[in-house]
Symmetry: D2
């Protein structure tokens, strides 16, 4: 249930509202970024708007049918802008995240990071903890990988996003990264979602490869409900019968999400397609459909990468990608993000 | 098997090649648009390239692993351009096809056609024979609908594409339309594919909603193998578990097809999404990913349409679509098709 | 809309009902196998039960929300039993259909048919017209194949079911076969469905490989609406992401169909799995879940078959299949069909 | 790589093999239940069988192409039998697991457990930690729920299986339960898989709802590789386009798994279908296809259950289920498990 207080509602009235809700077994959360708007939820039954409508200071109460109240546009009509190490995701500017699938060495990571930076990329990605189908595959460098990423940020100035696979890894990832990725395989890992919900770092939440929109926003809501409103969604392809791509990039979810949620959404064509030659065209399509950014894998030499070279562009192709995606993004009035001048940065900082 | 003759091969040498192939139980087809290149196929066994390599006048023989030899880039490296009533599909220019789902009346069709024309659309679509899930639903106006489409072409100059559901309807559709549509539900209707393969009108072949790339090109090959090389492919969404769109538009197939086939490919976001609000963003994405055109449903008033108003844009939105898709198409160097000057038209005519 | 007349309704009252319906633009069909029950449908709008409730002789009118009125249990509560050349499908007895994928020669077909018969199989299947993904694959022997099937029936006494790919093939198939198969790829071929709906032979309708229950019954309704109430449904696997079977046999649809429809349903594990080693276990599962029969491919030597040896059991395995399926079918009180004694046959004939 | 030592291989020879493997960067694991058989794996490259073939005491080395060596039949040809609190899963006897979706109270759980026991069920299931799509839904009673399950075991003698959602919950679940469930949403939670791999309790691993066979066995391998060879697989339905069931129960995976793996596999029709009326027929099908057991949800009154009443059978239907599944299981020579006599129990204990 959504509760909107009157503009002149007093602190005391809000306290009383909370008291009443708690006494009836409900929980109240303030909607981040909106004064005077609250979400009231119940575990075993839904609160009745009529019961709260007459409460002093209340302007309006409204029943919300879904389980993603905080993620919904009904609670938060304006777009959310998430600042990842100073780079605003979800504003007017389009953002490109690039980097190796797995961090393999300082040398490799620095080489890629420099090229991402030189080509105009905005954020560095790279896995230190890798979720792998088989236990005997390379599982990532762990903390050593995180240190390498931090060193690459130091040199290039690019903020870093990297994945935590488990509650116990979050502390460490938080120390080194600018944003914490929750991967597709963990979209339903609710303890992990709760844990990153208590982090002060932004969260990049990837859609599970068979997740519905309802489930995707339900997962985001776990993070928001713990108090972290810095969530970036990421579409990365769904499982289908396709015989020519690893997964099917579901760009249809971008306008669908934009309609019901205020959270930014980026697309990841590397994991979706699993084929190098599709990354540039699908990135262009992501920009055209209205996404807030793309995330791609970049390798110095995709053919020798330890994990998933087949789904990475070479650094030369990344230059091409930046140019082509830049043109498409501009054609939909979403120019590539440029490191803001002092004034603009201040604005971005304040909205985020 | 592909057989490439030497530049100086004689007619007699080609005759002998054909004779040899037939005597061994194979069939030979010339690759349209390429001199001196032939495809040799066998029903019960594949021909052996070695057997034909030494034949007089033969420059090269090559085994092709697939069943879509004529549709493959190996046989025909250059893009095919299909002229639909003078509009080239598959060339550099981007093409927009619009019109009502079903032809319901002359008045309705003319009103939509005029708006499509005024907004800069290139081809008129509309169903006279409608494939409907239930036998009691409106099945289309039949020949009356075809006459209405022809009248709309007469007035607006827009070429017309419309569907034939069955072999027996092709004669009639051929008489009135500029291109014959084979719908998703008929992608595997092989007698129908053979029949339109013997037509002199271009064929718009829609992907079945659970068809693989292999099957899609196999269906196109049925048309090509009968001698009709004017085939436009159309992606229109695949069946998935999606809870927010009717189907999932699979834009990934566009670069996949471009790599292995020379046939033009357009996308249909109306049937894919089944939601009006997604048609414009998905059309932009289609242009960005590298498709040769989009096909959308347009209604004067989508809310009262007999069939599928939910998947049609209103005529006002169609203006917006043309502007936005036009900008994106230009950003990938595929400007919207403009009715060609005399010289250009002659070129388009000759390539098609 | 369902209209149930009173037990004492007169012919004249029924004539008047029909007249009223037609005058309002509707169509009336008698529900086969039920006296005094009618389905009234409209193409552009649904009839209003209230309008017909007061009509003389009418006991009850009821709105049906779906488009498969004649296929629904609401119109026809009892199970339909379809007689295929004297073999009742849909009654208490469980039925096994076996035979080669494609008819390749008289010798091959006779050999398989004899083994099917000897093992206790009930109906012979075999394709004379084959739907093939690529135009250059073996397309079946055509009429020669139909003659071979008829010869195999002559010798073994097994009724024959075989596929027609197109309206134009139905006449010929009708002449030779005991039941006409409409394949998965043609489930949405509405002209073909209408044509077999005017046949006097039973129809075996296979589910399209991405068809919903609603669409499957809609396709059956096309046949029923033309007057042919002898329809057997067949589940043959749906398209999924499976990496270990060609398709996924959807046994869940069997109880789902049994609940909403009176039509018999059999399952085809050969096409679903595409793997020989799964045919026997999936046939057992089909019997256990409540299907009315199974249809499998049988080859003398599956490894040399022209089409799909990989999805066929060898004749020795067919003996095993009959024994194992027989035991399971008995455990759910659906014993294998035994050629009926005179009396029982008469009964089966009358219900069908 | 598989290494099979000679029957007369000495301890010293095995030590030397291990030393060699480790010195080359590989890891060696003994295959549980097989003397003298080892699996050698490498993180960054695969070991070369030729290098180890000549090693003293080695009878045979063989490359295994997959990443589930320990789960494969190649390493372990005989079926594994897992003892859950004394109940053998994977032997000849068929096993039924029943209980509420969520543990809601002592009274409810005891009532259901008594009925499961009375009807002949073998293992009690029930969730104390519930994975829920939305954060505001009932999340389970936690440790209180575990205590209730233990009390129900105390009274009925039924062993208990229940889910742990996270590494941090495993300690607690281990204390109370006889087997630890890893749910579908956690099939790719690799830290959790590793943690239960170090448990001494059996693990019930549910297939992710879009997991391939390869991924499913890869997940099992994570558990096995840590030393816990007591893994029971569970098929629970996959995501498809189905319009009549929540998921599609994929019984095809049962024979596919039986062919490549020695691990027991049970099926869960409750979560697959999401419809009460399908649970009994699908359970019968599970028995017929060759599964080692079924797991179903049972409620005193499914209509008032807090979580998922729609997917539970009433206790009366559970009696019916036991009778019908019992008959089918017997028809495939897999009689329902009966509490073993002293001698048999000892055997079951020793194999497990």
């Amino acid at each position: 249930m959504l509760v909107i207080m009157r503009a002149d509602a007093s602190q005391e009235q809000m306290r009383l509202l909370g008291e009443k809700a708690v006494s009836e077994g409900f929980r109240v959360r303030a909607v981040p970024g909106r004064d005077l708007v609250f979400v009231v939820t119940g575990e075993r039954r839904a609160p009745d708007p009529a019961t709260f409508a007459g409460q002093a200071g209340v302007a309006e109460t409204r029943s919300l049918r879904h389980g993603y109240e905080l993620a919904s546009r009904e609670a938060h009509p304006d777009d959310t802008i998430v600042a990842v190490g100073g780079v605003p995701v979800g504003g007017r500017a389009f953002v490109v995240v690039g980097g190796p699938c797995a961090v393999e060495s300082l040398e490799q990571t620095l080489a890629v990071a420099r090229r991402v930076k030189a080509a105009g990329g905005h954020i560095l990605r790279g896995g230190a903890f890798k979720p792998r189908t088989h236990p005997y595959s390379f599982q990532g460098l762990g903390e050593e990988g995180l240190k390498i990423l931090a060193a690459a940020r130091e040199e290039t100035g690019l903020p870093v996003v990297t994945e935590a696979l488990d509650v116990d890894q979050v502390d460490m990832v938080e120390r080194y990264a600018d944003a914490i990725q929750v991967g597709s395989r963990n979209m339903h890992n609710f303890p992990l979602l709760r844990r990153v919900g208590r982090s002060r770092k932004p969260v990049l939440l990837k859609r599970g490869f068979a997740a519905t929109l309802e489930e995707f926003l339900g997962a985001a809501e776990y993070v928001l409900a713990e108090g972290n409103d810095q969530v970036v969604l990421c579409e990365r392809g769904i499982r289908t019968f396709s015989d020519f791509s690893r997964n099917t990039l579901d760009l249809t979810i971008v306008p669908a999400l934009k309609q019901v949620s205020h959270l930014p959404i980026i697309v990841d064509p590397s994991h979706a397609a699993g084929r190098r030659d599709m990354i540039v065209p699908l990135s262009r399509a992501g920009a055209a459909v209205g996404a807030d950014g793309v995330m791609v894998e970049v390798y110095e030499d995709p053919c020798v990468a330890l994990c998933d070279g087949a789904q990475a562009v070479a650094t030369d192709d990344f230059d091409l990608l930046m140019r082509q995606v830049g043109r498409v993004a501009e054609s939909v009035d979403r120019p590539l993000y440029k490191k803001a001048s002092r004034t603009l940065r201040a604005v971005a900082g304040s909205v985020a």
